[in-house]
């Protein structure tokens, strides 16, 4: 068993503890994706200038979401780590070097991040049409919104959250 499989094992047994955390992050990723989808939606891009306001609003909201999320993750990961000091001590006494313990925990949090990212993208894509339709209704526009998955939006979400997850 190497660091990777130990991390996988820990992740599986700790999923219950992390459920709420993962749920919050999934929703955040989904919301962020929907705003990105709006930004990159070809139909929206073609419509009139009214939507420029909506677009900039969407951008501001997504940035705010990101900032809140970064602080949320920062706080909760330090909280989780504090809860698990005893566990870290046991690993240290089992003769695992500090570097390796760090690696195990890093890999585990990457698993959590990937789960949230995948789940978030899935929900985001599922609800993106609903979101855009609601927006069209609100802005009294008469556009039919086709269901699209703009790859540029997906990549942007993945890059942004990839960086955040790695940084924390």
């Amino acid at each position: 068993m190497n660091a990777f499989s130990l991390a996988l094992k820990l992740f599986r047994s700790n999923v219950k503890t992390y459920t709420f955390y993962i749920a919050v992050m999934t929703v955040a990723v989904a919301v962020y994706y929907d705003f990105m989808a709006l930004k990159h939606n070809p139909e929206v891009l073609q419509t009139r200038e009214v939507l420029l306001y909506a677009k900039s609003a969407a951008q501001i909201t997504s940035v705010v979401t990101l900032i809140v999320l970064v602080f949320f993750m920062w706080y909760s990961s330090s909280f989780f780590l504090k809860q698990r000091t005893k566990e870290i001590g046991i690993y240290a006494l089992a003769g695992i070097s500090n570097a390796k313990i760090g690696l195990v925990f890093a890999v585990e949090s990457i698993f959590i991040g990937l789960t949230a990212l995948a789940g978030g993208l899935l929900f985001g894509i599922l609800f993106s049409k609903l979101f855009l339709m609601a927006l069209a209704k609100c802005t009294l526009l008469d556009v039919t919104v086709p269901f699209t998955v703009p790859t540029s939006a997906v990549t942007e979400v993945m890059i942004t959250f990839g960086i955040i997850f790695l940084a924390l």
């Binding site: 068993m1 094992k9 005893k86 046991i90 240290a92 006494l93 003769g95 500090n98």
Partner: protein
């Protein structure tokens, strides 16, 4: 008999400049291979400090500690980790098992991280578990076990890497008399079977009477020693007398 662990003029101070307090001073100790040593003393006498120093958990202010001829006080972190992995086992009062792993995984943890072969790990775990009577408990989680079983699992984990020395800090502190007796009998049975040295800190004369030798600590120095004559009952009496003579803490037990 070869010496497995030796301590030379060990000193440990706590606190910062001005309020320095020596928890241990001038401690010299030799432990033979396969010996079951108990360290006793009133609270605050430095027994846990001594154990922490010998088991690499804490660092000495001055003096030297050798395990298997290697000087602990001059080791770097990486070497210490290796030493802990190969030479030392730990048992604590509150078991310190990982709640989200089965007993099997808990016991196998130190081996698993040594990158041992999967089959060898299984065989080693099953053999030791049988010795400690845990075969039926291997696939349960720690919360499904009694205190005595948990502590035996912890001892099994400490022994799985076939360490030279096992350090136990009040291993029976959370157990009742029956579970304590079972555990101590197991610890005593290690010597003929695996040749493991056990160093146990305790404040309980009953526990200490299972050992081969008892060292008494008082105010940070070694105060006296007692060797077992073979009969546990006599040894128990002698320990109680010694404690009483030291200004005993265990008089209430008489």
């Amino acid at each position: 008999m070869e010496t497995i662990l030796s301590v030379r003029s060990l000193k440990k101070e706590y606190g910062s400049r001005g309020t320095r307090f020596a928890a241990l001073h001038d401690v010299d100790l030799e432990v033979q291979k396969g010996e079951f040593l108990a360290v006793m003393g009133p609270s605050g006498s430095g027994k846990t400090t001594l154990l922490n120093l010998m088991s690499t958990i804490d660092q000495a202010t001055a003096g030297e500690i050798y395990i298997d001829g290697r000087n602990l006080t001059r080791m770097k972190n990486g070497d210490l980790a290796k030493l802990r992995r190969n030479k030392i086992g730990f048992v604590f009062q509150d078991f310190n098992l990982l709640d989200n792993m089965t007993i099997m995984d808990n016991i196998a943890l130190p081996l698993a991280l040594n990158k041992a072969n999967h089959k060898e790990i299984l065989a080693a775990v099953e053999e030791l578990a049988a010795f400690f009577g845990l075969t039926d408990q291997l696939h349960k989680y720690p919360y499904q076990l009694s205190g005595g079983q948990k502590q035996r699992a912890a001892v099994t984990r400490a022994l799985i890497t076939k360490p030279s020395v096992v350090f136990a800090d009040e291993p029976t502190g959370a157990l009742d008399t029956k579970a304590s007796t079972e555990l101590l009998d197991c610890l005593r049975g290690l010597k003929p079977k695996y040749g493991t040295t056990v160093i146990m800190v305790t404040h309980d004369a009953f526990c200490a009477s299972f050992s081969d030798r008892v060292m008494f600590l008082k105010d940070g120095t070694l105060h006296a020693r007692l060797d077992s004559s073979g009969s546990r009952k006599d040894f128990y009496q002698k320990i109680l007398e010694m404690l009483a003579a030291m200004g005993g803490i265990t008089n209430e037990r008489l």
